[in-house]
Amino acid sequence: KTQTGTLNWGTDPTYQPFEYADAANKPTGFDVELMEAIAAKMGRTSNLTSEAFDGLLLALEGKKFDAVCAAMTITPLREKEVSFSIPYYRSDMGIMYNPAKNNITKPEDLVGKTVGVQVGTTGEIDAKLITGVKVNSYPDIQLATQDLENGRIDAVVNDYPVCTAYASTHPTLKVIDTTSIAGQDLTQLYGIAVRKDDTQLKSDIDAALRKVVADGTYATLYRKYFFADPPYLPK
C-alpha cells in the first residue's frame, strides 16, 4: 500500500559508501541522502527499512516497502520482476586484493584463485564470467572483506566505489578498476526498484530524480561521497 505521507523504501545498510551506519550509528550514505532528496521533491518523508540484500526484491514484492534503493544494478533478470527508475548512478567493477599476497592487475589474473563476492550482486555474476575462478558468496560484503583479510580468499569483486571506500579504511588492501571481463562490458547502471504494477510511483520517482539532478543536489551528494564531479548524470 502506498502511503501518501511517506516514501517507504528498503536497503541493506552494510554497503559503504552507498548505505551504511555513520559514527552515531544512523543509516547514511549516498543512496540514503539521494532518497531523502527524492522524497522531499515528491512531498513525502523518507522511511528506510533494513533488509538483507538478497531479500530486498522479495520484500519489495511482499510489500514490506514500496521501493528499493541499494546500489542495485539494473539487469534484465531483475527487470523481469520489478521496474527500475531511470539509472541514477554508473559504476565500474572493482577488484580488491591484498598486494602482500597477490599481484593482480587485470581480471584474468584471478584465474585459479578464490574470489569473494556478495550473494545476489552483479559482482557475483561477473566473477563467474571468468572461467577457472572459484567464487565464494557471502551474505554481506563485510564478511567477504573479512575473509580476504584472513587470507582464505585472494580477491573481492564488487562495485568499484564500494571497494575504494573499503580500501580507504583497510590500508593493506588495494583496488583495481575494471570495465570488462571476458569481453563483457562491466559498466553498471544503478536503479531504484519498484513493483511492476506500481507505474505511478515509478514515474513520480523518475520526475523527482530529474529535479534532484537539475537543482544540483545530485552533484553535491556525489562530491560528498565520491570526492569527484559526477562523470554521469541521470536523465
Binding site: K1, T14, G55, G62, K64, Q146
Partner: protein, 214 residues
C-alpha cells in the same frame, strides 16, 4: 585483538539492538506459548484427524532449520494477504516456529505425570476433561516451567536469525559496527557478552526450577 573501546563506544547502539532482541523475544514467547499449549492439547486430546494434523505441523517444524522456516513464513505471509509490518511479521514467524517446540514441552509434561494420577481421578468417577483440568494440568504447570524457561533462552538466541532477513537486532547492529570500524571481532564479542547476560540468568533459573520440581 579485541578492542574493548569499540565495544564500549558503541554500547548504546548494541543495547538498542539488544532491546529489539528482548522485546521480540518476549512478544514471540507469549504468542508461542499460547499457540503451543493449544497445539499440544489438540495433539493429545483432539482426536485422530486433528491429532495427525498437529503432529505433522510439530514434526515439520522440528525437522526444518529455524532460519529456513523464518524465511518461508516471513516471505510467504504477505502472499496470503497477511501484510504485517516488520516487527509483527518477525513475531509471527518466530511464534509459528516455537509453538511446535512448546507443544512438545506441554506434551512431555503431561506424559511425565504418573499414570496412577489419572487412574486415581478416573476411579473417583471423573471424566477425561475433569481429570485433565483438576488433576493433570495443575501438576503439569510446575513441570512445564523449567523447559519453558529453556525455550525462552533458546528463543533469545534464535532471534539473531531475524538479523538475516530484516530486523536491527543485537547481532545485526554488531555487524554494522563491525563494518564501520573495520574491526569485525570486537563488536561480535560484545554482542556475545550481551547475549550471555540475557540467556545465562534464564538458563540458571530454569535449572533451579528443575531442581525444585524434583
Amino acid at each position: 585483538m579485541i578492542k574493548w573501546s569499540i565495544i564500549f563506544d558503541n554500547l548504546p547502539f548494541l543495547l538498542a539492538g539488544a532491546w529489539t532482541t528482548l522485546t521480540l523475544t518476549v512478544a514471540s514467547m507469549i504468542f508461542a506459548t499460547v499457540a503451543g499449549l493449544l497445539v499440544g492439547l489438540l495433539n493429545m486430546f483432539g482426536g485422530k484427524v486433528i491429532g495427525a494434523i498437529t503432529r505433522v505441523y510439530i514434526e515439520a517444524i522440528r525437522g526444518t532449520p529455524a532460519l529456513l522456516l523464518i524465511l518461508i513464513v516471513y516471505y510467504a505471509l504477505p502472499r496470503i494477504g497477511l501484510n504485517l509490518p516488520q516487527f509483527p511479521a518477525a513475531v509471527v514467524s518466530l511464534a509459528v516456529c516455537y509453538a511446535a517446540y512448546i507443544a512438545e514441552v506441554f506434551r512431555a509434561a503431561v506424559e511425565s505425570i504418573p499414570k496412577g494420577q489419572s487412574e486415581a481421578a478416573f476411579s473417583l468417577g471423573m471424566n477425561r476433561a475433569q481429570a485433565l483440568r483438576h488433576v493433570i494440568l495443575p501438576q503439569t504447570f510446575r513441570r512445564v516451567l523449567p523447559p519453558l524457561a529453556n525455550e525462552f533462552a533458546a528463543l533469545i538466541k534464535d532471534t539473531s536469525l531475524v538479523s538475516v532477513i530484516a530486523m536491527q537486532d543485537l547481532l545485526f547492529n554488531a555487524k554494522i559496527i563491525g563494518a564501520r570500524t573495520a574491526n569485525f571481532l570486537s563488536p561480535l564479542i560484545g554482542a556475545a557478552l550481551i547475549y550471555l547476560i540475557m540467556t545465562t540468568p534464564v538458563m540458571q533459573w530454569s535449572r533451579n526450577l528443575e531442581k525444585k520440581v524434583e
